[in-house]
């Protein structure tokens, strides 16, 4: 049962790519246009959220407002960049569990710009509380990823309670009770009693 439980969680992610541990913004393709960006979630900058302890804390009671403020960088004169897509991904066990994407309508080459995104995870608020690693990405024309940032997000629910915590708590208490019951004298004596026959008296054959 234990292996089945672990397998249940690991099965969908067997083919997933590993997640980068660094939360440092980086341009991913050499020769591609270079972009630096500041990403904020509910007004809080994500650049310093490089670990679980420094995760950006936001409430899961409503949709998240994410803002990308980007600027083309590189040797002067700076070449304009055509940003076509902004993406935000939530990772669990190394796999992108949820992806929110905005395709810019009629994208134009520019030196800088801002992209506002609304990421709604409230539909899964029964199970999705806690700290998650996020990936914010900007994609330029031609599908080239020009900016990537990894950061940690603490999605909070009231009192950190949701269905998943309640189920986990109940199961922990149940297993602790199972261990405690091993010390019950009454249970030991009950197990030592000889098995009783199910029927009290055999039926007499009818004449």
């Amino acid at each position: 049962m234990l292996f089945a439980l672990v397998g249940l969680f690991l099965l969908p992610i067997a083919a997933a790519a590993p997640v980068g541990s660094a939360a440092v913004p980086r341009a991913t393709t050499s020769g591609a246009p270079s972009v630096t960006a500041v990403v904020t979630v509910e007004g809080q900058p994500t650049a310093s959220a490089t670990g679980v302890a420094s995760a950006v804390s936001v409430s899961l009671t409503g949709p998240l407002h994410v803002l990308y403020t980007w600027q083309a960088s590189g040797a002067a004169p700076t070449a304009p960049v055509t940003i076509t897509t902004a993406r935000l991904q939530l990772y669990v066990f190394g796999a992108a569990l949820n992806s929110v994407e905005i395709d810019i309508t009629n994208p134009q080459p520019a030196i800088n710009g801002t992209i506002a995104m609304v990421a709604d995870f409230t539909y899964a608020h029964y199970v999705i509380g806690g700290v998650y690693q996020m990936e914010a990405t900007l994609i330029a024309a031609g599908g080239v990823t020009v900016f990537t940032e990894w950061f940690y997000l603490h999605l909070t629910t009231p009192y950190d309670l949701n269905a998943a915590t309640v189920v986990a708590g109940v199961l922990i208490v149940w297993e602790a009770y199972t261990i405690a019951e091993l010390g019950s004298v009454r249970a030991v004596l009950r197990n030592r009693e000889p098995a009783r026959p199910r029927s009290s008296a055999p039926k007499e054959p009818e004449k």
């Binding site: 049962m1 234990l2 997640v19 679980v52 669990v92 940690y152 998943a164 199961l171 004596l189």
Partner: protein, 83 residues
């Protein structure tokens, strides 16, 4: 199945769910595959060891008490009483 084995099984499952509870409470993150597996293995292993030891100790104590209680309630045989 022995008390130690039963305790180890229950402790392992409890350890697994302690890890999930810690993630939900914001104490640790299960986003990256490698660290997540480490957390799960450590949780299951530590839970199994603690549960196994507890189960074994509690089971032994309960059996000892049950033996004592059985000896107290069992009547002495008539032959031995006559002597």
């Amino acid at each position: 199945m022995g008390d130690g084995t039963k305790g180890a099984g229950s402790g392992g499952i409890a350890g697994l769910f302690v890890v999930f509870l810690g993630q939900q409470a914001g104490a640790l993150s299960l986003s990256s595959l490698g660290p997540s597996l480490e957390y799960l293995v450590i949780g299951i292993g530590a839970g199994a060891v603690v549960g196994g030891l507890l189960g074994r100790a509690l089971g032994r104590r309960a059996r000892k008490k049950a033996d004592e209680r059985t000896a107290e309630t069992t009547p002495e045989s008539p032959g031995s009483a006559a002597d």
